[in-house]
């Protein structure tokens, strides 16, 4: 039986200084104050109310809490959220 070594992709990508969002499918978050949040590389919406949103990504679930939250636009890999964002939490 072959002994396969676990390859740490993140270390390789870091060593080669390559973009992690492209190669590892990590979400890329851009915030303007606490009013706007742009999420790239998402996998869809899991929960969506005016006070809480859970966004699926390849590596995590991103939980956004706040008030008057709404999705300004929504495409296959880009999502812009507006509202009063109080917190962002990452769940595995």
């Amino acid at each position: 039986m072959k002994n396969r070594k676990h390859v740490n992709h993140e270390k390789i990508v870091s060593a080669l200084e390559l973009p992690k969002d492209l190669l590892l499918g990590m979400p890329y978050l851009t915030m303007n104050g606490n009013r706007e949040l742009l999420i790239e590389n998402h996998r869809g919406i899991l929960t969506y109310t005016g006070r809480q949103m859970v966004i699926l990504t390849k590596t995590h679930q991103i939980e956004i809490s706040g008030s008057e939250l709404y999705v300004e636009y929504y495409t296959a890999d880009l999502m812009k959220i507006r509202g009063n964002i109080d917190g962002i939490a990452f769940r595995s």
Partner: protein, 422 residues
């Protein structure tokens, strides 16, 4: 802005999505490349969002798959607008006709603006432009700007700089006039003696002062001169040892010469005159002018016995420079009464004084200093005769070409040289 216009142009819908798997529906939309925006949660498992009209048919299978229900709340954009008013053919036809008319009018000049003219009147220049086929209503393509600028400078000697350009449907002509007369400015002679100038008297005068910078002064202060007499000559005689003229040296005369001049003054004030007084009554008619054709409201009043007209009009324009050949305004008929009035000597003197001081002001504006005046008024028949003289001091020199004479000495030298050869 551009995105909003694109959405409006393509047409979009505000829809209400409801169902237990509404979140899944949204995720499926994005996976199929269907763009959605303004996603607002309404209640539990109910969302409102916007999508393009063309995508609405594509999402029906997704509704079936997720067991959700999609309801249109509002339709936005041009396709829906056109559909709503599809029965009203005249409206888009009129809209298209208006757009076509504006487009057609944009090829012509409908306004002329003259900038920088002082002595040349606007009417003169507009008439000139019309003669040069650059007037009101001319096609923009037919106007050669460079040729127009050149002809303006050539046909009006006082115009030293001209620029013309088109802004919208407005032709702007900018000019600069030479307010100094050509004679007043000193001209360099250079190597060509024919360009040499003398200074001669413009009118009969007594020389008040003379300050010569170039040339040979032929008069002095206190001399009486006649019109056309040379005051400073541009031709200088170079004498030899015997005192005879060896040759002539030409250099344009340059001097400040003032002289005492007498102006005769005459005026007539009629003893009786007609005076017009407005009564305060007036009637108005309104008009609309399109391509030179005028439509007026009917005159629903009798003409006054004596009146004059005042017209106030406006031109239609879109923005600052896009003028169109549409005018509107009102014409006022203002009633006046004519009364015969008779001037007594005091009133006639007052009127004569007004005329006289206006005449003096005009003289002073032209650089003439008034140093004395002697005017009398007397009644002759049915009018008052005002006559007298005004003593003034003013520049009297004007530049005229210098007479060129042959050099006498050169001929002698040539003669001597011929003798030596023999």
């Amino acid at each position: 802005m551009i995105l909003n216009f694109y959405r409006w142009f393509c047409g979009y819908l505000t829809v209400l999505l409801s169902g237990r798997k509404a979140g899944r529906f949204l995720n499926l939309c994005t996976k199929r490349g269907i763009l959605i925006w303004e996603v607002l949660p309404q209640a539990e498992d109910q969302y409102q969002f916007c999508m393009y009209k063309k995508d609405f048919r594509k999402v029906r299978p997704l509704c079936k798959k997720t067991g959700t229900r999609l309801r249109i709340k509002k339709r936005w954009g041009l396709p829906f607008f056109l559909h709503r008013y599809r029965g009203r053919v005249l409206f888009p036809a009129a809209f298209a006709a208006a757009a076509g008319w504006i487009l057609f009018c944009s090829n012509f000049i409908w306004k002329i603006e003259i900038i920088g003219n002082s002595n040349l009147s606007e009417e003169t220049l507009i008439r000139y432009l019309e003669e040069k086929n650059a007037g009101f209503g001319t096609s923009k393509d037919k106007i050669d700007m460079e040729a127009l600028e050149l002809s303006l400078r050539q046909d009006f000697p006082q115009v030293i700089w001209a620029s013309s350009y088109i802004e919208g449907t407005k032709l702007v002509v900018e000019i600069q006039e030479n307010l100094k007369t050509e004679d007043a400015s000193y001209v360099e002679t250079g190597s060509d003696p024919s360009s040499c100038k003398d200074i001669t008297a413009q009118k009969d005068a007594v020389i008040a002062s003379i300050l010569t910078r170039n040339g040979v002064p032929l008069v002095k202060a206190g001399d009486t001169v006649e019109a056309g007499q040379i005051l400073v000559s541009g031709r200088q005689e170079i004498l030899d040892d015997s005192g005879s003229v060896k040759e002539y040296f030409y250099q344009s005369a340059d001097a400040d010469i003032t002289g005492y001049v007498t102006y005769p003054y005459e005026d007539r004030i009629p003893a009786a005159a007609t005076e017009n007084t407005e009564t305060g009554r007036q009637h108005s008619v309104y008009f609309l002018e399109l391509f030179g054709k005028r439509l007026e409201t009917p005159k629903l009043f009798n003409d006054f016995l004596s009146f004059y007209c005042m017209e106030d009009y406006h031109q239609l324009r879109l923005g600052d420079n896009f003028y169109l050949p549409v005018f509107w305004g009102e014409r006022n008929y203002i009633e006046q009464t004519q009364t015969e009035i008779t001037y007594d000597e005091t009133a006639a003197k007052k009127l004569a004084a007004e005329h006289f001081y206006q005449f003096l002001e005009d003289l002073e504006e032209n650089g003439v200093s008034i140093i004395g005046k002697n005017v009398m008024i007397e009644k002759i028949g049915d009018f008052y005769q005002v006559s007298g003289t005004i003593e003034a001091c003013e520049p009297i020199g004007e530049r005229t070409p210098t007479e060129i004479r042959e050099n006498p000495v050169q001929e002698e030298e040539e003669g001597n040289a011929g003798n030596e050869h023999e």
